[in-house]
């Protein structure tokens, strides 16, 4: 499996955000987004806003657009469940909302608690009327992220890109503990 550090998509996606003049980056962290978050934090043209729950980001970015700024929401798939009712705001008022979502409960998951939401992520987003794209290979992420941003900003709607766990890699809990043999 390709190491996250060797992937170039976070750098490329940061470049896309910059080119699109994204000013507000709303986040609840995920390991798969760690490098992109770091790049955005270092970028003086962007304001990274840490949230206590992902639905705050849906509301924040509606406010950003009211004020003439573009934003993006970065989260992991478990956070999608927290956003569902708040997505009404984006849909009813036609706010652009690109969401870049790293998948958990997906390819090679170890943690049973990640499975229900991970398995339901695409279905619940689509049930709310969100357009969902998916990238399962690192080399596809940048192009899919580009189309996600353009769809959201040009057609005034929430659009989600699911970045598969094959791209970011499943967390290996056994490597992180001393008590369980590998």
């Amino acid at each position: 499996m390709k190491n996250i550090a060797e992937s170039t998509w976070p750098d490329e996606v940061h470049g896309l955000l910059k080119a699109a003049q994204v000013r507000q980056v709303a986040i609840v962290p995920d390991a798969g987004h760690a490098r992109l978050i770091k790049l955005c934090e270092k970028d003086k043209s962007m304001r990274v806003v840490r949230l206590t729950t992902e639905e705050e980001g849906v509301a924040q970015l509606a406010g950003a657009w009211l004020g003439g700024e573009k934003g993006v929401l970065l989260m992991q798939s478990s956070g999608v469940g927290n956003c569902i009712n708040m997505l009404t705001l984006s849909i009813a008022c036609q706010f652009p909302l690109p969401m870049l979502i790293t998948m958990r409960g997906d390819h090679g998951e170890f943690n049973p608690a990640q499975i229900p939401m991970g398995n339901a992520t695409q279905a619940v987003l689509e049930a709310m009327g969100v357009i969902v794209k998916r990238a399962d290979k690192a080399e596809d992420v940048t192009e899919m992220a580009s189309s996600t941003l353009r769809l959201a900003y040009n057609t005034y709607r929430p659009v989600a890109l699911l970045i598969g766990q094959r791209v970011s890699g499943a967390k290996d809990f056994r490597k992180l503990t001393r008590s369980v043999p590998l």
């Binding site: 000013r23 009211l66 004020g67």
Partner: protein
């Protein structure tokens, strides 16, 4: 001491708004704000419960030279308490949040909220780190708050205890796209439609 009446109170708070941008939380606060006069720079909510303060944050960060006022209810604020922490960390100088606290879920049959049982939102905001916090119970305190509301001297949070009166609804337009587009046109100019 008689409790403050929300319609007169909101009129008073909005009288000095100038070109401030106003977000109104769903239900009674949206009717109160509309009662004071429909305005292109109002964004009244019909849903998004728990999101009013965060919409205010995104707007305040996008428009640092404008004053942003969020007027919402106690039930709405209770649904998004984490926003107090998020806003305190961002600390926009131009954001004021006013909670009209009738200690009730007014639109669903006047059931009590946690504030009827001692939950103090102003102290929660203070503990989160919001620069200026106020618990307001009297007309004198309203006048004091009014002087600070648009001063832009740091994030502000006020919890105002109001009478739990039943009032006729004063409805804003309910087409969300219309509300958004007229707000952006008034704030950003006609070119906003081509962003």
């Amino acid at each position: 001491m008689s409790k403050l009446l929300r319609r007169e109170l909101v009129k008073e708070l909005l009288a000095g708004r100038g070109d401030a941008l106003v977000i109104a939380g769903l239900g009674a606060p949206a009717w109160d704000v509309t009662n004071a006069g429909d305005h292109a720079l109002n964004f009244p909510l019909w849903g998004a419960m728990g999101g009013a303060a965060m919409i205010g944050l995104g707007l305040a960060l996008a428009q640092p030279k404008k004053k942003v006022l969020v007027i919402t209810g106690d039930g709405e604020m209770l649904m998004g308490l984490g926003a107090l922490a998020t806003i305190a960390v961002q600390a926009p100088r131009n954001l004021s949040i006013v909670v009209l606290d009738n200690e009730r879920y007014g639109e669903t049959g006047m059931q009590e909220t946690h504030t009827a049982h001692g939950v103090d939102l102003a102290r929660m905001a203070k503990a989160a780190g919001i620069a200026q916090t106020f618990m307001v119970r009297s007309q004198t305190e309203v006048s004091r708050l009014n002087k600070r509301l648009y001063a832009g001297a740091g994030s502000l949070f006020a919890q105002i205890k109001v009478d739990p009166e039943k009032l006729p609804l004063v409805l804003p337009p309910r087409d969300g796209a219309l509300l958004k587009n007229r707000f952006r046109a008034a704030l950003l100019g006609a070119d906003a439609a081509h962003q």
